[in-house]
Amino acid sequence: MVPDITPQLAVVPILINAGAAALPALIAGVASVAALIFKPRQLVRACRRHPGRALGVLFGIAGLTALIAFWPAGDATATGTGRPATSASASTTDWTRVALEIIREEQRRQSRGPAVTQQVSANAEGGTVDVATSDVDAQPAIFRGGIERTGYAGGPAPLGLQPLWEYEEPFAMFLSSPIVHADRVYAAWTLLDPPNSYGGLIALDAATGDLLWEIDERDDGEPFVGIFSSPAVSADGRYVVIGQGLHYDANCDLICVDTQTGEIKWVAPTLLHLESSPAIYGNLVVIGAGAIEVGSDRQPEGHPGYVLAVDLETGREVWRHDIADPESSPAVIDGIAYIGSGFNGNAVVALRTESEDALQASGKDRELWRRDTPYPALGPITIAGNLVLAGCGNGDFVFRAQNPAGAVLALDRDNGEVRWETALPDTVLGAIAVRDNLAICPVRNGEVIALDLDDGAIVWRQRINGSAAILGGPAVTEDLVYAVSQDGYLAILELQDGSVLERHYLNSERRPGTLGLSVSSPFVSDGRVYIGSETGGLRAFDGSTSR
């Protein structure tokens, strides 16, 4: 969430005249402040550590503001800009934002190398789509918040949780994980009503739980099918994208909805289902279309699965690449999409995200590398620095394997080499969260296990509720872990040692979950925890923010 820091600045000509000289200093100062504002936790820390500097910055900003405000106005025509001196229109230009854009651009260059130039490629229908990735650092809110899958958007981490609100859809489950963006919660429900399933995407006021909009059918009136995928919000907050379909569904759509109106922006059809959660990277949306396995040997019926990339603005397909059963959720960084390959695949695959034309021009393959995993890699991909973390195992969300086994692999982002591999007692299906050199893993045997990112050693392990599986990913704040067991217990653990601080029941007291499908992952933002459940709807909690 970006707070509005627009000061009451003067009209354009004043800034142009005065700012010409002061711009470098202004950028440097604002850059520091902005960097901290974007990371409020660090801001608080910095203020505590260096109160003098904080006050200095504050006075500096105040002084600069005063200087700008009282600078004598000049003749607009004298600036040589050629703009008419219309103060009314000039006053609406937000030059602070312009400056911030410049700062963002600088940050992007520093952290990710040179900007990817705009590309235009032919789509499947012969037209062209804009796959520009120049805006890749504008922080889209993807599944679990970002590629480190922390499920934490900043702000205080609450303890002593108290119910804040709950949103219920009769008899529906919230299998999908909510995401918070700009004071809104986006979430999806699923109603199993065989032979069909139904789904809906909702936007709620994060503070009150009030329904802002809901959409549960396409423009042609065709109802959405059940939704397991979790929403992703574009960096500019204009669009929310989500997959559709459960495991036996075919011909499911990737959906993009306008966040302001709740209306469908586009749908991108697929041959299969989209239990994968989409990643947004610049103008590209990447998602896995999972196979429909049948029979005891789990062979795919129909297409074996593929990764799909579409244009965020139009939904037009940019490329697709066959991968066996990519039910995993991709993570994209530096132009490479990493995704797991599930049944009949047993691998992690790194894919270049360029268009087909660009690949052909450069003579490169879509696959950068592929690394075999000991079991189907169904878990979402997590990025930790130069590591790609992948969970795998022989169980799935519904069935525990006869002889359960699983593992977490840490692969080199550049070449897929195994940095370390840690065998675990069962499958890792939920997202692995990364913080403070720990990988917090949800394990199907009922344990949350923290691994050392350096060598994969187990640092601590903790159960939430006996052997009830941990299927959803944990949320990890600065010092707390929020994890949920499949039977609906949300527990708060110490990040340092995994000790359980408190537990809360998420399912309906009247109708306890019978399926063990509390698979929705918690999301922590601004002192609140948001989480879906099997029978208790979507819930928000707040609590004490001091320990």
Partner: protein
């Protein structure tokens, strides 16, 4: 509700032709109880008449389980429209379950957007529609299809219910009363395998029975390598007493009973009858009495031998199965003493129509409920042999023909050892019979054998090379479950949980706890199998032997998992209430073939067991009946001994979390 025209026709045809086993994996996410909860109106009805021309039928409401309207007796006109009308118009044959007199279960109106008038009804399969008014419904669609685990098409909703319509209606009645129990998980757990011993050859038969008389079941092992006896001298402390007891046999089957009624168990080791004299007074050992068949050459063809009550005098007689020689029956001389008499001919077992010359295992029980032992013989097409008052056996004319060959060479005689047990809830002994890689569930419908396997969900999740099956309430929830061994060296033994209402669950797939079986023996096949309470905790344990020579005891640990939890599901709450009653039947007269019945104080039969019937291809469990009882309270135990003697005992059953009810049933004479 979306219309899927493409699939409707195939579904309709499927409904017509669907009288073969469906591999319908249970959909724990949507069970009849969920439909019952979600829909505003739940009713059952009977089809009055079918309007084939217009496409539709008229339903008379026979019971309203939930909701206010329509009233019982009201007629609802159900018209096929949209895709359904098209499909019906194209279909040559009528839908078998849409016919006058057929029952229907219906769910109407959900508390859900777009579903206020949604209709879902079941008539041998699920159909969809809408409510136009209370007296008029539109029938719009059929169930869709998905691919089952065997790659074959299966209706999407078969995992919710693929049973018979009357059974569904029965469940709806129970749901309305708050008494339905239809578990979604396998609530059972077993401890680590206990390897009693490893022999050099295959274990062919096994018995769990108190031979020594100290109240602890001992183990007898039949093996071509030489039989073994392990006496349980202290709880779970077994000693090899083979030499001490002077046993030097090598056999293929074992049975135990007191054939001479002297109070000491005797052995039927293969075809050799051994009089027991082992007791705590120092006398011990077994003395050969007689061998069956009497002819040595014929005896070489012995498959299995067991005690049977063939004449109603309470002295156990002997039945043997010969490879290629059918069944032979030998009458115990009883009080008069002397040799057993071959009564095969008198019993009618020398007739081809009774399986003469066949090669197969037998199963003993009481099909007719007349107290006389009947036989299922798994040779040829299979024979359900009913004993009359003269001790003659005649094949039941309506027994479905089955196939008892197995393996790549279609070998006969290596499967089919089943059990008579109250599996379907008919109040009688039904029949569960393993075949090569599946089972047949034969319902005892007022004496008529009806194959209801197709309705059984995961009853078709078989292993391969099934040899034999025992029936026992291993989950202690009031439903008799089944356990089957595969004769393959690394065969998967199967634990199938009986969910009631004719539905079965592959236990390990749906296990509720972290582990169901902890040891390797589940995947090492088996040739010998018995169940019984080995450690006196009131829970039936599993004893098996396999081709590796392993003698393995798998202790049932289910009750230790019954601990109160914070938010129990309906299933768990019911199990926490369930009690356990363990009845030990003592005679000595009339124990083999005795029937133990658990009854309400009003005399309604709740559950029952047949003593000496779980023979499982040459094995034997103890003379006990262990009942899981879902509703604690006061009951009667009635034992009908095989000689006609009968006695009842009042028992009070508490939740098993508090106490196990125990009864030693002794004769009153």
């Amino acid at each position: 509700m979306t219309t899927n025209v493409r699939t409707v026709l195939s579904v309709l045809l499927f409904s017509v032709l669907a009288h073969f086993p469906l591999k319908a994996v249970i959909n724990v996410g949507l069970q009849p109880a969920d439909l019952f909860e979600r829909y505003e109106t739940v009713l059952t009805g009977e089809i009055e008449r079918v309007d084939e021309e217009a496409g539709g039928f008229f339903l008379r409401v026979t019971a309203l389980h939930k909701g206010e309207t329509p009233e019982v007796g009201e007629i609802i006109e159900i018209s096929a429209v949209d895709a359904m009308a098209e499909a019906l118009a194209d279909q040559v044959d009528p839908i078998v379950d849409i016919a006058p007199g057929k029952p229907v279960a219906a769910f109407v109106g959900m508390r859900q957007r777009r579903a206020e008038d949604q209709l879902l009804f079941y008539a041998g399969g699920f159909y969809l529609g809408t409510r136009v008014s209370d007296s008029r419904w539109n029938w719009t669609d059929g169930d869709t299809q998905m691919t089952g685990v065997d790659g074959q098409p299966v209706p999407t909703m078969a995992g919710t219910w693929n049973g018979s319509t009357p059974q569904l209606n029965h469940m709806l009645e129970d749901l309305a009363r708050g008494e339905a129990y239809f578990p979604r998980r396998g609530y059972a757990a077993f401890k680590e395998d206990i390897l009693i011993d490893q022999l050099d050859d295959t274990v062919r038969g096994i018995a769990l029975y108190d031979l020594y008389g100290n109240g602890l079941p001992d183990i007898y092992v039949s093996s071509p390598d030489g039989d073994r006896v392990y006496l349980q001298m202290a709880p779970l402390e077994f000693i090899d007493a083979t030499e001490w007891l002077g046993l030097e046999q090598a056999s293929v089957s074992i049975d135990v009973a007191d054939f001479d009624l002297d109070g000491i168990p005797d052995l039927l080791v293969g075809g050799t009858l051994l009089r027991g004299s082992a007791n705590r007074s120092g006398q011990h050992g077994f003395t050969p009495v007689e061998s069956f068949p009497h002819d040595d050459e014929e005896r070489a063809a012995l498959k299995a031998a067991a005690f049977i009550e063939a004449d109603g005098d309470g002295y156990p007689d002997v039945i043997v199965s010969l490879e290629g020689g059918g069944l032979r029956l030998y009458r115990n001389p009883g009080e008069s003493g002397g040799a057993f008499t071959d009564i095969t001919e008198h019993a009618g077992l020398d007739r081809t129509e009774a399986g003469a010359g066949g090669n197969g295992y037998f199963t003993l029980g009481d099909w007719t409920g007349d107290g006389r032992t009947d036989i299922h013989y798994a040779a040829g097409p299979g024979f359900l042999l009913i004993q009359d008052s003269e001790g003659r056996f005649a094949p039941h004319p309506d027994m479905p023909e089955l196939r008892f060959t197995s393996g790549p060479d279609d070998a006969p005689g290596l499967t089919g050892a089943g059990a008579f047990a109250p599996i379907i809830g008919s109040g009688r002994f039904d029949l569960i019979i393993p075949v090569a890689s599946s089972w047949h569930v034969i319902e005892n419908r007022n004496g008529q054998p009806i194959d209801v396997t197709e309705y059984g969900n995961e009853i078709n999740e078989g292993s391969f090379l099934h040899l034999s099956t025992v029936a026992s309430d291993l989950t202690l929830d009031g439903n008799v479950d089944i356990y089957t061994i595969s004769r393959a060296q690394y065969g998967h033994n199967r634990f199938i949980i009986n969910r009631g209402y004719g539905s079965f669950m592959l236990a390990t797939v749906h296990r509720a706890y972290d582990k169901m079986f902890s040891g390797p023996s589940q995947e090492l096949g088996g040739w010998a199998l018995a169940t019984g309470d080995a450690n006196g905790d009131g829970q039936p344990d599993i004893l098996l032997g396999n081709e590796h020579g392993h003698v393995v005891l798998i202790l049932n640990d289910t009750l230790s998992y019954r601990e109160p939890v914070e938010h129990p599901t309906d299933d768990v709450a019911r199990m926490l209430q369930a009690g356990v009653l363990a009845v030990t039947v003592e005679g000595p007269r009339g124990v083999v073939g005795a029937i133990v019945q658990l009854e309400t104080p009003e005399g309604a039969t709740v559950d029952m067991r047949f003593i000496g019937g779980n023979n499982a291809a040459g094995s034997r469990g103890p003379d006990e009946a262990i009942f899981g009882v879902r509703k604690p309270g006061d009951y009667l135990v009635r034992v009908r001994y095989a000689d006609g003697h009968e006695r009842t005992w009042p028992v009070e059953i508490s939740p098993a979390t508090q106490a196990i009810a125990r009864l030693t049933a002794t004769r009153s004479d």
